[in-house]
């Protein structure tokens, strides 16, 4: 279980008058993520998702607040190495060692997690098969396509059998086929018992994968719930119409209610099932970041 309590992160920055000021990236974030859960952090660019994941993975120190993994605090130096052994990270940027081959990149990672030679060999072979990259073990990472690199990042993060996996925008800029394959991989992992925390600004990804979703905006947590609950809370159907240049919409619990409402409108409108994107817009009041 991961517990996040009153997490805050600020960065120094230059304001418009070129004076040093404090920029709040994450403000008063509290969350609990259960074992075996696929938990999504959803938000537009700049919402604080990556900053949150960097603090959770100890790449960035919180300004204040606490992060606790199964009772172990990351602020406690004695616990840090044990926590690091528990977690695997798939970063947003493709941070491979450019001078090593695919196999060597995986071996380096396995060595960093203190795996012995026989275990390393078996695990690398198993994972390359898992992400369907067996044929490129001796190729340089520069030679791989974008989708292959993303799958390799996942394989690398899984080498040491982490109990908790962090995926930071794992399908960004990928075509739909590769995105689907990565989603399948994530589902497989969760079925095998891993806890998965995924950040995304793709609504569809959160809806498809996550057991629960936290919606963030401008560094703050807006709400946490299951995608289904979010939808049923606001209404399963949405009526959409245009007023001048603005898109207007309203939620309804049943299709009949929505139809009745359309009949009362003086303009043309459409009716459809509501989705997480509608919820996100309703909760954050903005669409430009999506």
């Amino acid at each position: 279980m991961i517990e996040v309590k009153n997490l805050r992160k600020t960065f120094p920055h230059k304001d418009t008058q070129n004076k040093t000021a404090e920029k709040v990236a994450v403000e008063n974030l509290s969350l609990t993520i259960g074992t075996g859960e696929i938990f999504g952090l959803l938000g537009p660019n700049g919402a604080g998702k990556t900053t949150t994941i960097r603090m959770l993975t100890m790449l960035s120190r919180p300004t204040s607040g606490e992060i606790i993994y199964d009772g172990k605090r990351i602020s406690d130096l004695d616990d840090v190495r044990a926590i690091k052994q528990m977690i695997g990270v798939v970063p947003q940027n493709l941070n491979f060692d450019q001078d090593l081959t695919v196999g060597e990149n995986l071996e380096l990672h396995a060595r960093l997690y203190h795996m012995d030679a026989a275990e390393r060999r078996a695990r690398i072979s198993e994972l390359l098969e898992y992400v369907e990259l067996q044929g490129v073990i001796n190729d340089g990472v520069r030679q791989l396509s974008g989708g292959m690199k993303r799958r390799l990042l996942i394989a690398r993060a899984l080498i040491h059998r982490p109990e908790i996996l962090f995926l930071d925008e794992p399908t960004v800029a990928l075509d739909p086929q590769v995105r689907w394959r990565i989603w399948e991989l994530v589902r497989k992992l969760a079925n095998d018992g891993a806890t998965v925390l995924i950040t995304t600004h793709y609504i569809e990804e959160a809806e498809e994968l996550c057991d629960r979703v936290a919606i963030m905006n401008k560094g703050r947590l807006i709400d946490v719930d299951t995608p289904q609950n979010f939808i049923s809370r606001l209404g399963r159907y949405v009526v959409e119409w245009r007023e001048d240049v603005h898109r207007e919409f309203r939620f309804f619990d049943s299709r009949e209610e929505a139809r009745t409402f359309i009949g009362s409108l003086e303009t043309t409108a459409s009716i459809r099932k509501s989705n997480l994107e509608d919820i996100f817009i309703e909760l954050t009041g903005r669409k430009e970041g999506l």
Binding site: K84, V89, F96, D97, L100, L108, Y113
Partner: protein
């Protein structure tokens, strides 16, 4: 800790193995030019104070400056790993001790520096230079490699841009290459500059290597000063890496 150091060293060893031939050939160019230009060319018209040939005077200086340059530049890719590729984050996330990363990187740079020094020694013998290699001679060479690898590591931790890394080469290493008793004695320098130059580690390495290779007496204070540099710069770079992890 030892296992973590070995892992970091292993990575650099794998990269070096991929490029060993290119590395060896490229390391021969600069010393060959120094030996031809300053040893054969200019050196024939130079008489040293001790009466020894200039090439015998020159070889320890070339060893000192070359091991400095190679060790420093062997660690500078850490800067790109930190600033551009972000691959350093893999080490930050991993359950290894921060100083294991620093030591592993420094040891790998020492290896490169020593391979490069071995190439110079072979070339110097081929050019007819006379010198003796003792265990202390090798220790001084290793110390020099380690100090400049640590300086390279610290620079990689503190500097933000690739251009700034280049400026360390231009404003620090290049002047040291010529002024720290490598090509001529520091006694030829004006007093104020000489005092400053004689505080620098490369000057102590040059004098130690020259003295040891010719069988002359050397000051063990110079070894102590090199050790002091080794410890101080190690903690400066190491501390910067620890802060990066935090």
């Amino acid at each position: 800790m030892l296992q973590d150091i070995w892992t970091v060293f292993w990575r650099d060893w794998v990269v070096l193995k991929h490029r060993m031939t290119a590395f060896i050939i490229s390391r021969m160019v600069a010393p060959l030019l120094y030996l031809v230009a300053f040893g054969w060319g200019l050196g024939r018209s130079i008489q040293t104070a001790s009466g020894a040939s200039y090439i015998d005077f020159l070889v320890p200086g070339i060893l000192a400056l070359n091991s400095m340059n190679i060790s420093f530049n062997s660690v500078t890719p850490v800067h790109a790993e930190r600033v551009y590729h972000k691959s350093i984050e893999e080490y930050i996330i991993a359950p290894i001790r921060p100083y294991a990363y620093v030591i592993g990187k420094v040891l790998a740079a020492v290896l490169r520096g020593m391979i490069s020094s071995a190439i110079i020694l072979v070339l110097a013998f081929a050019f007819g230079a006379h010198f003796t290699i003792t265990p202390l001679f090798l220790l001084v060479l290793i110390l020099n490699c380690a100090i400049f690898a640590e300086i390279g590591f610290a620079a990689a931790m503190f500097l933000s841009t690739y251009e700034q890394m280049g400026q360390v080469n231009t404003y620090i290493l290049l002047p040291m290459s010529f002024l720290c008793g490598t090509f001529f004695s520091t006694r030829a320098l004006p007093d104020a500059l000489r005092v400053f130059i004689e505080c620098l580690p490369l000057t102590h390495t040059s004098y130690l290597l020259r003295g040891l290779s010719s069988g002359s007496e050397v000051s063990l204070w110079s070894v102590a000063i090199l050790l002091l540099y080794l410890v101080i710069v190690f903690f400066i770079g190491g501390n910067a890496f620890v802060k990066l992890r935090q």
